[in-house]
C-alpha cells in the first residue's frame, strides 16, 4: 500500500506525542504528583499509532494496563488524561479510574483495563453493536502475549468468529524471542507455540505476525484487517512483536544506543529523513509542539483540584441508589 507523506508525518507525530507524554508522567510519578506507578507503553508506540490511524471516534478500542499509548493515539484529551493520572476531579473519569480504568467514550476509548485480558470480551459487545446497527464501524481489542492465554480471549476469538463480528484482535507480543514477561523471572515458557497468531487458525480466522517496531508494517496490516472487518468479513488476529524500552526522566525521546534497533520512533525518523519527508526543522517543530501540548496538560493537571471526599460515594449507580 502506498502511504502518503501526510499520513507518515501523522504517524510520526502520534508516536512522539505518546513518548513525550509518558516521559512527563514518569517525572510526575517521581515527584509524587501521580500517586501510583503505571504500566508504560514506551517502545510500542508504532502499534497504537498504526492501529488508531485507521479508526474514527465512532470506532472503539478496548485496552490494557499499558493503555496510555492506545488512549493517546485514539485521541483522548491530554489534559483530561494527565489530570486523571494525578487523581484530580478534572480527570477524564473524575479521579475514579487512574491509569488502569480510563474510559473516554467521546473518542471511542472503552477503556483501559486492570484485569489482564478483561477488556477483550467487552470489545465483542462494541463489535456486536456495529453489526446490529449495520453502520460499518469496527472495534479493536488490544492485549498482550501474557493475556493471550486467558480463557476469556480464547472464548472471544471463538465467539467473534462464530458471529462474524467486525473485530480486530491486536496482540502486542513484548517478549517475542524469549517468551517471558518483562520484569518477571519465569522459568517455564508462557506460550506453547511459536507465534500467538498461530492460534487464529484454531478459530478459522486470518492471522499473521508482524514487526511492531515498524510503523508502516503495522499501518498496512491493520488497514487490511480493518477493511476486511468493515466489509463484513469478520475478525482477524494480528500479532505485533515489540520491545519495551526504558523511558527517562530527562524528557528525551531518544533511547539508549542498544535499544535503538527496536525503537519505532528512531527507526521511522531515519526512514522518513532518508525519504526527504522529515527535515531537521520539521522534526524540531513537531517535537516542540508536542512537548508544549504535554506541558500544558501537566500544568492543567497540577492546577486542578482534588475531588471532594464525598465524591467517593457518588456514581455507584447511574439510575439512583
Amino acid at each position: 500500500m502506498e502511504i502518503d507523506e501526510e499520513t507518515k508525518i501523522e504517524l510520526y507525530t502520534t508516536m512522539v506525542r505518546i513518548r513525550t507524554f509518558e516521559n512527563r508522567a514518569r517525572i510526575l510519578i517521581r515527584d509524587g504528583e501521580i500517586p501510583a506507578r503505571s504500566g508504560f507503553y514506551t517502545g510500542q508506540e508504532a502499534v497504537a499509532a498504526g492501529v488508531c490511524a485507521h479508526l474514527s471516534p465512532s470506532d472503539q478500542i478496548g485496552s490494557t494496563h499499558r493503555a496510555l499509548g492506545h488512549l493517546i493515539a485514539k485521541g483522548c484529551d491530554l489534559k483530561g488524561l494527565m489530570a486523571e493520572l494525578c487523581g484530580m476531579s478534572s480527570g477524564l473519569n473524575k479521579g475514579k479510574a487512574g491509569p488502569y480504568h480510563i474510559f473516554d467514550p467521546s473518542v471511542g476509548a472503552l477503556g483501559a483495563n486492570g484485569i489482564v485480558g478483561g477488556s477483550v470480551p467487552m470489545v465483542a459487545g462494541y463489535a456486536l453493536t456495529h453489526q446490529l446497527r449495520d453502520d460499518g464501524g469496527v472495534a479493536v481489542s488490544f492485549y498482550g502475549e501474557g493475556a493471550s492465554n486467558q480463557g476469556g480471549i480464547q472464548e472471544t476469538l471463538n465467539l467473534a468468529a462464530c458471529w462474524n463480528l467486525p473485530l480486530v484482535f491486536v496482540c502486542e507480543n513484548s517478549s517475542p524471542e524469549v517468551q517471558r514477561m518483562l520484569g518477571h523471572e519465569i522459568d517455564y515458557p508462557q506460550l506453547s507455540i511459536e507465534r500467538v497468531s498461530d492460534r487464529a487458525q484454531a478459530y478459522g480466522i486470518p492471522g499473521a505476525t508482524y514487526d511492531g517496531w515498524d510503523v508502516l508494517e503495522v499501518y498496512n496490516a491493520v488497514g487490511d484487517a480493518v477493511k476486511w472487518a468493515r466489509e463484513g468479513n469478520g475478525p482477524t488476529l494480528l500479532e505485533f512483536n515489540v520491545h519495551q524500552i526504558e523511558g527517562n526522566l530527562e524528557g528525551r525521546i531518544e533511547v539508549r544506543d542498544d535499544e535503538r534497533i527496536w525503537c519505532p520512533i528512531h527507526r521511522f525518523k531515519e526512514r522518513i529523513t532518508d525519504e526527504g519527508i522529515l527535515t531537521t526543522e520539521l522534526d524540531e517543530k513537531i517535537r516542540d509542539k508536542e512537548k508544549s501540548k504535554v506541558e500544558e496538560a501537566a500544568e492543567f493537571a497540577l492546577r486542578s483540584t482534588v475531588p471532594a471526599p464525598i465524591e467517593a460515594f457518588k456514581g455507584v449507580f447511574a439510575g439512583g441508589p
Binding site: 472503552l110 470480551p121 467487552m122 476469556g152 449507580f317 447511574a318
Partner: protein
C-alpha cells in the same frame, strides 16, 4: 374484564416481548435462547429475528462480557445465564466489568444490562446446579440484585430492569416458573427498593425472598390464630428497602429471616445486621435465621431436603420466637 392468570415464566416471556417490540435496542443472547423448549425466551427468535435473539457458544465469560460492551454502546442486552452457578466461571466480567465500569469511569459510561439467571435448589441437581448465590453478587458494589417471587413482580421487575440505566442480576427460581398469578397484559414496572408487604401481622416479622416467600406464607397460614405473622418480600436485595423491614420490626419486635442462600455472610446475615444496628431498640427477642447451612447442596433428595429451608423449619423458628 376478568383478571388474567398466567405463569411466572409466561410473565417473563411477555416482558421480553413487550420491551423488544417497543425498543429495537433490546437484544437477547445466551445459551439455547432460541430453543422452543426454553420457556422464558420461547418464540422471541420467531417474532424478532435471529439477529436480535442469538444462541451464544457455551462461553459465559465471552457472552457476558459482550453484554457489558453492548450495554456501554447503548444497547439494552438481556443476557441469559442458564443457571446462576455457571456465572462463577465469568466472575471477572460480572463482578469487575459489569458491576464497576460505571463507577470506575466516573460516570462516563453506563451499563444498562440485565443478566437473567435461574437459581435454586429442590430438584436434586446437586451442588453446581442448585445454588442461590445472590448474596455473593449483592456483595459487590455496582450490581442491582432482583429476586421476583411471583408472576406479577416477575414481569414488572424485568421491565424495570430493561428500562433502567444500571446492571441488574435478575434471579428466577426455577420452581417458580409454573406458578400462576394475575398479570396485566400491558407493560408496567415494579420499582426497585420497594418491599412488598405480602401478609400483615403483629407478632413476628418474616423477611423472605424468592421461593421462600411462598413458604413463609404457608408457615404463617399454618400457625393461624396462634401467631400473627407479617411477611415481607424485599423483591430487590440491592437496593434493599431497609425502612420496610424496620417499620415492621417496630410493630412486631421479632424477626425471622428466610433465605435459600448459604447462611455465612449471606443476605440473612445482612438483614440481621440491619436489625442489630438500626432496630436494636425494637427487638424483643434474638433474630432467627432460616437459611441453607454452610454445606454444599447434596444430590440425594433426602440429604437435600434436610438442608433446605422449609415450611416446617419456618414454623418452628416462629414458634420459638413467640415463646421467647
Amino acid at each position: 374484564m376478568a383478571e388474567r392468570l398466567i405463569t411466572y415464566s409466561e410473565a417473563l416471556n411477555e416482558a421480553h416481548r413487550l420491551e423488544m417490540a417497543s425498543n429495537p435496542d433490546v437484544v437477547v443472547f445466551g445459551e439455547n435462547v432460541s430453543s422452543g423448549w426454553r420457556q422464558v425466551t420461547k418464540g422471541l427468535k420467531e417474532e424478532f429475528g435471529r439477529e436480535r435473539v442469538r444462541d451464544a457458544p457455551i462461553t459465559e465469560t465471552a457472552f457476558i462480557g459482550m453484554g457489558v460492551g453492548a450495554a456501554i454502546m447503548g444497547l439494552k442486552p438481556v443476557v441469559e445465564l442458564m443457571l446462576v452457578d455457571f456465572g462463577l466461571v465469568a466472575m471477572d466480567q460480572i463482578l469487575n466489568q459489569m458491576a464497576k465500569s460505571h463507577y470506575m469511569s466516573g460516570g462516563a459510561v453506563k451499563v444498562p444490562m440485565t443478566l437473567r439467571a435461574t437459581y435454586g435448589a429442590g430438584t436434586s441437581s446437586a451442588a453446581t446446579h442448585s445454588e442461590s448465590l445472590y448474596s455473593l453478587f449483592a456483595h459487590m458494589p455496582g450490581l442491582k440484585v432482583v429476586i421476583p417471587s411471583n408472576p406479577y413482580d416477575a414481569k414488572g421487575l424485568l421491565i424495570e430492569s430493561i428500562r433502567g440505566d444500571d446492571p441488574v442480576l435478575f434471579m428466577e427460581h426455577r420452581l417458580l416458573y409454573p406458578m400462576e398469578g394475575v398479570v396485566p397484559e400491558e407493560a408496567y414496572t415494579v420499582p426497585f427498593g420497594m418491599a412488598n408487604l405480602v401478609r400483615e401481622g403483629s407478632d413476628v416479622t418474616v423477611v423472605a425472598t424468592g421461593l421462600m416467600v411462598g413458604k413463609a406464607v404457608e408457615a404463617a397460614d399454618e400457625l393461624g390464630p396462634k401467631c400473627s405473622v407479617e411477611v415481607i418480600d424485599p423483591r430487590t436485595i440491592v437496593p434493599l428497602d431497609e425502612e420496610a423491614i424496620l417499620r415492621s420490626l417496630r410493630k412486631t419486635g421479632r424477626l425471622v429471616i428466610v433465605d435459600e442462600d448459604y447462611e455465612r455472610c449471606g443476605f440473612s446475615a445482612e438483614v440481621a445486621a440491619i436489625a442489630a444496628e438500626k432496630g436494636f431498640q425494637h427487638l424483643d427477642a434474638p433474630v432467627v435465621r432460616v437459611a441453607t447451612p454452610n454445606v454444599p447442596i447434596p444430590y440425594s433428595p433426602v440429604l437435600e431436603k434436610h438442608l433446605l429451608p422449609s415450611k416446617e423449619k419456618i414454623v418452628k423458628a416462629i414458634s420459638q420466637l413467640v415463646g421467647y
